[in-house]
Amino acid sequence: MVIGVVILGIAGLLLYAGGWFTPHNLSPATMINTFEQVFGEHPGFRRNHAKGVCISGYFEGNGRGVALSKAGVFPPGRIPVIGRFALAGGEPYQTDAAHTVRSMALLFKLPDGDEWRTGINNIPVFPVNTAQAFYDQLLASTPDPATGRPDPAKLKTFLARHPESAKAIQLIRNNPVSSGFENSTFNSLNAFRCINSQGVVAPVRWSMLPVQPFEAISSSPPEKAGQNYLFDALIASIHSHPLQWHLIMVLGQPGDPMDDATIPWPPERPQVDVGTLTIDQVQSEDASPVRDINFDPLVLPNGIAGSDDPLLSARSAAYAQSFTRREGERKEPSAVSTAETGK
């Protein structure tokens, strides 16, 4: 009798720790299930930022980042980089659109075997500051099956409950959108910490600032624009010349929010240009090993660490769930095919 209680008790505790008795708690599985409900099931693809193309090139540090971080990215020298440009949303065959959020995902292969993975977006702030708010926003923007559009009342309720999101969305709307991937500025949105060789910790956010000049996007797609017109323009420009971005480390001051991605840091914060990213190769996901890389934002080199921003751990957990599901699934051809990338 006592033995039965002990055994069942321990088994129960394990199941409790695994969330079996609290199925309504937000877990990585419920998050990814919801993506599959909202965008449909697309086996083999990332559950978010599903449509993309793979890139490679290199990063050349200029040495100015060494004062900030001991990570092997920052000393002068050339480091191989692989990555991926993508559009937000779980629809791998969506038509390119001017105002869909664009992302750049990068993996820096450091000389000491360390890695730095980062996924950065062309918006100035993130629309939500917690995983729960992200989930609520996802549900609120689900297209109504009757109309095929999100229910405006639901969105209104969401924004009323999340004033920080209402503010952030306004900032995102006011931010001018560039004509393509190649002249987009990509921002880390989340805060991180840099640690230098003396152990000094500095709060940072980072951005990739394009060398390609800004040009505003026209609100209507160009004439004869194909489904992939943003990707096609990116591929054409990489084929004509390497694309470059400056990696800018933005230094936070005490009091700057480290745990709230909806709030921008003051524009006068010091910005250190630590080196140049060059992208000179583009490949379809169908032909690139980058398809099978999880751009977990907490795969960081020694010398860069996460912050207490709750989105970081949540992104790490949800990406892992998405990665585990898609790796075991059959692979469908990418919307941006090898014929388009020329490889």
């Binding site: 006592v2 969330g19 000491d112 995983a131 099978d292 751990s313 957990a317 949800a318 790796e327």
Partner: protein
């Protein structure tokens, strides 16, 4: 004479309880981390180095097991029980090696760096391969539940002997030295 007490060797007992604590911690961290958004990263950062520590400890335990003589089974254990005890011991040893190795292999196949702490990371032990990752990821979960069930079986039978049959079976593995009643009489 310590040899007459029927206890396992001191080192064996220390290794047993250390491993028990680590494995149980590991199982709880494992189930909790895959269900958590907020604590996921914190728990993964413990799970990886702890898994490798278990692998090292498993190797130490195996060597120790090969070079120590075990106390005989108590007469209160039937032949079937002795067979089950040996079989579950073998299974537990196998899982102590298999779980960390499958975890390490799974991260290698998934193209993840295997970070221990700070600048210390381990090399991949398998080539990056999506299907291999998916299979190993599932295997890792199945083996973990198998370990948990085997542990419950082990605990249940020891408790049964100790509390119901009252043959002091647990004393054999007690951390502190316990003299058997027989030994006392001889004194």
């Amino acid at each position: 004479m310590a040899k007459n007490t029927g206890q396992f060797a001191v080192l064996s007992r220390i290794l047993h309880w250390l491993m028990a604590a680590m494995l149980l911690t590991m199982l709880f961290i494992g189930v909790a981390m895959v269900a958590s958004l907020g604590n996921y990263h914190r728990l993964v950062a413990i799970h990886l180095p702890l898994g490798i520590m278990i692998l090292i400890l498993a190797a130490i335990r195996l060597v120790n097991r090969m070079f120590t003589t075990l106390p005989p089974f108590p007469p209160t254990m039937s032949r079937r029980e002795r067979f089950l005890a040996s079989a579950s011991e073998r299974l537990l040893y196998t899982l102590m090696f298999a779980l960390p190795l499958v975890g390490w292999g799974m991260l290698s196949a998934g193209h993840y760096p295997v970070v221990m702490f700070g600048p210390v990371h381990l090399p991949p032990i398998l080539p990056a391969d999506p299907m291999l990752y998916a299979v190993l990821r599932k295997t890792h979960t199945i083996l973990a539940y198998l370990l948990f069930v085997t542990f419950l079986f082990h605990l249940g039978t020891v408790l049964f002997h100790t509390l119901i049959i009252r043959d002091r079976l647990l004393n054999r593995m007690a951390l502190w030295p316990i003299r058997s009643t027989k030994a006392k009489k001889q004194n």
